[in-house]
Symmetry: D3
Subunit: 320 residues, 6 copies
């Protein structure tokens, strides 16, 4: 079975794939004909695909987020690859394929990531900080096992948010050792809370974001997390103006660093400065790593990466 | 008694004034001598003043925010007016002067302004919106009678915040009549809540801001108001994700319009767009009106106004 | 007859519409075939439409800005609706339809709007200001009955410019009452003159702008209005450097507020500050109102609105 | 007699100078004493100076823009040189000094510069363009003999504006020869008109700007020049919308290139693009030349030059 | 034979053209068919062209940068002209056409331009400056005969870089005469070196850039030229920190003026300021001249020009 | 002996300090008197100080960068602390104080830091990368023991540059372990080379920068380092266009990330992205740590920190 990342122009292939999206459309011809416009994906990448001359049965058989077996031909259209589907049928039980094999996901299992996060929460020494963090994590605990960290920007896959958190926690741990003046409880709490509202800001399934929620657009994950800390404090009986509550809200509110990036206040505590840069370095390096991994090895340059000043990345080569 | 706004270079004068600030300093001379460095103010404006050769008694007699009787001489120092104090004593009971006569304040009495606001709150038709607004107003009700709307930017005087709200409510009322598709309850609520946390963001006395509070710097009045709405909803048993709560939070969070001006989300409801512009037009026109009022009538141009792209305003004259 | 705003995917419909634009194009097929690429519009909105296999007669029968009777089928192409035309013929006299029923227009009749403007001009107390305004209005009096206020930005329809002026005059009147230090004559004059050159800056028919004029591109409506005031003063024998002429030119030149928005000077008179914000609030709220009105009621969000920081607007709903 | 540019710390000197400004001020001492705070200048530069313990006679004897004979001592105050005046008296007829010897001026005589400009105007082939230019030049013909091109930015001295024009005309002539597609009449007209309103935008005496005029602040030299072209056309009976008038207005309006630099439209004709860059190159190189000329030869670096991105310029040296 | 610039919609034509690019693609039809997607060009411009139903022979016969004889029909597709090819064959020896007749090139022969540059190098008086310049020119001497100055921005044709240099040298010569304080050796050297690394930054054939080189993307022509000056100095035994080497590097490094335009330092020598503006004026006027030359004479406006703030240019017309 | 950081208003104290700067100035009095204007510093901070009525002997006895014993009184002048010197004498051999005790320095000894850097260089596996790095380090090896990393921005003290490098190397090591796709040799080389030219860009003594060098201003440390890599390659016989040389130059040239921050190219290799963020996080956290350490413990807020968006940092406190 061929991985999508390995398909090239004029390749004919057979394999199982996930229908990431599917729409019924009409051609320009007279009379217009129905065709299925789909996005095939597997864990290695995705490609647009067309089933021309779709029959009424076809239109009732296939649906988004379903697994299918496809025989196809890769063509070039407007300088991009797309698949002309020659044969297609839904996957059956006896095919022995399962959905989670066909989606991109973090390189560590979600269960393990969420368990690591739980352990870090338990390890927070300060009672009030720990309980506020636990309350907020509790609001999205189930979704944390699959939520991505973004729609397309970085860690946009199954378990991406938890993976981002865990990597940041590792780096935070390193920095607290290197610079003991940093408060480790606050930094851990800030890392876990900074994007904690993302699972409610975006509507996602299997790590794939379909859209932003109304709350996500009107309030945004930064203010949502601040509100959740308020809710936690009220429900836990902690004073709303205690230094701990203010510090946690400051960490969350300032983590995008600048107003034009969405933070209503700028970092003004050592831990808030650290949080912003830990977030930035982990997100940027993951974008680079993911772009290199999903670009064919024969290519010297990745596609343009929006989060890196819209620059492509060159595959480091030192021979020569 | 001469108003500070009317004093000119070389004027000698006698009058009662408020010591807006006072510090003991030393001259460069050998040996150095103590002097009092003060800011005299009345309702018309303020001027720096020096009491040279301050005696030990002087240093114990005068304090900030106290009323004094002064005989002084106006001089020019580095192109600005300052007062050399010839005689000074504290005001006494029999002088019959009172503090509030010496501070700048809104042209309508605070009591009246706050009563107007209360009436508007009572007039909100929707029960949940009304109770959330009432809860938030209740957190600062006492301070609302004197709080300014800003440190220096606009409405920076006794009752300035309430005055700003009332004027905005008048304009909001006009617009709801002109454009009935606007929801009047939401617009009223947005106007009252948008700056409701300012009395806790800044530390003020008699309408004069001395500094920002820790909470004001770390969280800011925009996120504070959003948090208060959350608190209100929790305590009143209203769902945190109900459209009303989200709408009120959106109004508050978006009222500065752009991220670089402090709003983590941009206006995305009709009432939020209206709120931003009602706020802007009232603040800007008040800056102009106040600048013209505190500039001597003989001057064609006001000083530069930071909130107006740092431009001066020309006193409109049509004869000619 | 179905309004364009109510059409959905796969709807088949019959009705009268205006051909806002029409072009003859060729398909990619071998041999290529001619088709008509049109924009159908009525007062509620517009949709692209194709007449495939256009006959020589078709190509001579239909023309832009003509009324037609259409039988069509709504399809989706590249995620947008477009109409496949099944039958089409020109409207006839006996159909009893008239052009102005099919264009978007202000909710108040043009005649009434222009009369209101004339009354306001007559009500300007100062003789020189009134005559300069009358002279400038006279240069575009006829076009004022149909000119839009912009190509697409806001009030982009029949009578849109006059409607924008009248609404601004209402708001200006309110503000002059609320803040009597504003000069009402100047503010009225500024509102009427600020966009007075727009009918010459853009080439429009029935409220639809087809392009900018050479003068509009090389000089622009802001400097054009300033030039017209100069012309008025020369012809009326008013001194070019009189405070009134300078004030009127200042109002016009500064009304876009910032250099990057096209104003060579920034507002430096109270009335100029007021004018800029009155213009802004009326334009922005009209964009919101128009976007909500032309978005199907089933949609929660309008399309992105360029003039609102490219944000969509959420349809306010308070039940829940 | 020592040139101001040559004075160093601790130098004692005698010479004639111009009092560019003068104010009576008071010291901090008890009792305060009057002193004269002056700016001494000659053609090579300027220095602040103090006459301590000014007598009543002193205060009546000296005035701004007067010539004086001074014996002084150069001191350092806050890292800058200033003169302590030991003796001072007004210049007398028998001293044989004249005002114009003490001001900075263009290296070519004003009469010659203005005559060159007149010759260029006469050489414009197109009748209408020539007469519009002549009309506008006529409005400031007298002031052109002494007006500076700016307050401090560049060519800020006696005859600076005419000198700037003449140098630009030379460069324009070179470019029209190098690129014959440029229209020479338009380019000459644009060069002469682009800053023609500056003598009315700023109030200047002997090439020294004291302030901006009200018209300069409310309308600005760019829109003023456009208005003058309108006036010329009306008075000369040329159509206001003729291509020539529009082209001249476009040249003037667009010559600052960007909105944020004050141009309401951007260059959209070949000659307008040329004009902007001819203006830029002449202004920038003159800033550099003037900064090098007024910096002591012993200094490697000039002071920071605001018009050059606030950078200092290094004195080119190639030995080594 | 028809020039490409003269072709209009529905024209049928026969002529020789260069295939600037060629790709084999498939149609959407069932089964998909191969077609050739080409760009035809001659010295006057370029047009996209399609050969539908390409035979296997066709696919082996035509290749990029080959000359062909074409019979074609001009059609409109998505508002742009494109050619439907009716007949096509490769050019033969007996056709008597040669490649260089079909590409855009500078109006002066490359040999002459390069000889002029060599003469200027020989005329540099200072031995070390001359030899550094000669060394750097030597690294690209062969490519200089055909290299363009940019991919699309300006002078994007055969010999464009040398033409740009020669025109700049003429203007530099004029300015050194007008302002003798400029060092002519440095300015000549700066003009020749400022873009000297461009032939290695971009991969070009016949003046047409196909892509940026790896070195061009990772280091860029500005730092490359600085490195070449270092290399020259090491190899010629000139001290790396001598004022001459630093000056040459400064000229090259600062010639884009601002950091956001790619210069790591800003101009801080008179010659560097001159260099930047000579470069700017020559590039901008050439953009305008080329845009006017390649726009049909019947068009009043050129297409938008990215390097001119994305504005179109109006064809100057003075009759009227 | 009192540390400077501990001095408060009105404190009288005795101690040894370093004269970081010293100038002879005159008072305004008649006749003016000489006084010494000095900056006293020790390892904890610095304070301005005045010796009034300086005798001729005083003026010859004291000089910048000398150690002195001072008896002084702390006063407030313009809201800032300054010292009035009561007695002062140069330090003597028998005082047993040494210069390096009085300057701020990295918390690890310079010798140890430089040795660590040497070890890392030796540990680079690739021969060519290692030798290029060794060559460049060799150019500043002596200065590396004391050079600061900046004039005021961050690590502005004795050994600051080496300390910055070593901390970055630790963080780089952590990231290479966390993300094995990063090339460790390149990242180490990039960290060591990125600021390697700073000791030649700035003139420093004992870790205190007095000014930028001519080379530093005209070329800048970024292009200087690129030039040094070129020089190393030429001298070591490595091809100038080998991937290793290009990669090292890319790392150095892109490490400021954006053009407006001084990088002529943006990061386009994984290691370049990592380098930029490692540099940023270490610099920012050091600014915070240094600001907290040099702010009196009684202060809640540090002064504004320019490198942190000009924000102050709040001293984290969690009790409450």
């Amino acid at each position: 079975m061929t991985l999508i990342r390995q398909l090239g122009n004029q390749d004919e292939f057979v394999g199982f794939y996930l229908l990431k999206s599917l729409e019924i459309k009409q051609t320009n011809s007279t009379p217009p004909k129905d065709y299925l416009d789909m996005m095939l994906c597997d864990a290695s990448g995705e490609l647009p695909a067309k089933l021309w001359d779709a029959s009424p049965t076809d239109k009732e058989t296939f649906f988004p987020m379903g697994l299918v077996k496809v025989k196809g031909l890769v063509q070039t259209y407007r300088d991009k690859l797309q698949v002309k589907i020659l044969q297609i049928r839904p996957a059956k039980a006896e095919d022995g394929v399962k959905l989670t094999d066909f989606i991109r996901s973090a390189p560590i299992s979600s269960e393990e990531l969420v368990q690591t996060i739980r352990n870090v929460v338990n390890g927070i020494a300060d009672d009030e900080i720990r309980e506020v963090v636990r309350f907020c994590v509790g609001k999205v605990e189930e979704k944390l096992e699959h939520a991505p960290a973004a729609k397309t920007h970085h860690h946009a896959y199954f378990g991406g948010l938890a993976y981002h958190m865990v990597r940041m926690l590792e780096l935070g741990d390193f920095l607290c050792n290197q610079r003991p003046f940093l408060n480790a409880d606050l930094l851990k709490a800030g890392i876990i809370l900074h994007d904690i509202a993302k699972p409610e800001e975006m509507v996602a399934q299997l790590g794939i974001v379909s859209e932003y929620s109304v709350q996500g657009r009107l309030v945004g994950h930064i203010a949502m997390a601040s509100n959740w800390i308020t809710e936690a404090a009220v429900r836990l009986g902690i004073g709303l103006e205690s230094p701990k509550v203010l510090s946690l809200q400051h960490l969350v509110l300032s983590h995008h660093n600048l107003g034009e990036w969405g933070s209503p206040v700028q970092p003004q505590m050592a831990e808030a400065v650290a949080l912003h840069f830990i977030d930035a370095i982990d997100a940027k390096l993951q974008m680079v790593e993911d772009a290199l991994n999903t670009t064919p090895e024969t290519e010297e340059w990745t596609p343009l990466i929006r989060g890196l000043e819209n620059k492509a990345v060159y595959r480091t080569k030192l021979q020569g």
